[in-house]
């Protein structure tokens, strides 16, 4: 019962935030730029073709993501670690 309530809280909050985002995008007049499905697919396929021109299919996205997260996360980790240590010394 408790877990169902917790899940409901998460879903209701997510629905509220999502609803606001949907309304904001619609209010921005986005729906006026409606495209057809084929416009959309055409563009994606073109891009996929460009992506594959290199020939090798390595998961570059995964490597790129890991590098990106490390570049952000490692300095932040070192900085918080130093702050915590400094706090302990002061005590």
């Amino acid at each position: 019962m408790k877990v169902i309530f917790q899940i409901l809280v998460i879903l209701v909050v997510a629905a509220l935030i999502g609803g606001m985002m949907y309304a904001a995008v619609n209010a921005g007049g986005a729906m006026t730029q409606t495209q057809t499905r084929s416009d959309f697919d055409g563009e994606r396929l073109e891009r996929e073709h460009e992506d594959r021109e290199g020939g090798i299919m390595l998961p570059f996205g995964v490597v790129k993501s890991l590098i990106f997260m490390s570049v952000v996360g490692v300095p932040y980790f070192l900085w918080t670690k130093r702050s915590v240590q400094a706090g302990r010394v002061q005590k």
Binding site: Q6, I10, A30, V62, V71, V72
Partner: protein
């Protein structure tokens, strides 16, 4: 090591691996990308349920003194949550596999696509910070998972600030 910590860590590792795969739809293919991402939403809900006590504790003491580290952590977690909602919503709006398979057609436009791209990139920054903030817990729990024994369950920032 408690069973709950073991489950938490394994779930987090799986979710993270799935997130990495989701970040590379050109390698996985769009169908895998979409279905896997929907599964991530479910694991994120479980992740939140497993950390519910922390969420309630910090929410109720958000404006009290001496909670600096946990407060930053809390705000970051909210940003990650909101960004996750934007990724999912915009993903569903541009869906090429999940939504059509349900027999639905949604209005298409470039805004959702740009938002999907943007929110996915922002999630990398937020996820990097989220991992950094919890790195001590991740490292110590992982160590114990392979060696056995008790684990310090609180993240670095929380240990110092939130017990007052």
């Amino acid at each position: 090591m408690s069973k709950q910590n073991r489950i938490k860590l394994l779930l987090d590792i799986l979710t993270f691996a799935a997130f990495l795969i989701a970040m590379d739809p050109h390698t996985s293919g769009i169908s895998i990308h979409e279905w896997l991402s929907i599964a991530i939403a479910a694991t994120v809900i479980v992740h939140l349920l497993l950390n519910w006590d922390w969420i309630v504790r910090v929410s109720s003491r958000l404006f009290s003194k001496g909670l600096n580290g946990s407060r930053a952590n809390y705000i970051l977690n909210w940003l990650l949550f909101v960004d996750g909602i934007l990724i999912m919503l915009s993903g569903i709006m541009i869906s090429e596999a999940v939504v059509p398979s349900l027999g639905l057609t949604l209005p298409q436009n470039f805004t959702w696509r740009s938002l999907h791209d943007l929110s996915a990139n922002i999630s990398l920054v937020l996820m990097g910070l989220h991992l950094a903030l919890h790195w001590n817990w991740i490292a110590s729990t992982a160590k114990r998972l392979f060696t056995g024994g008790e684990v310090i369950t609180k993240p670095m920032m929380e240990r110092k600030d939130a017990q007052a």
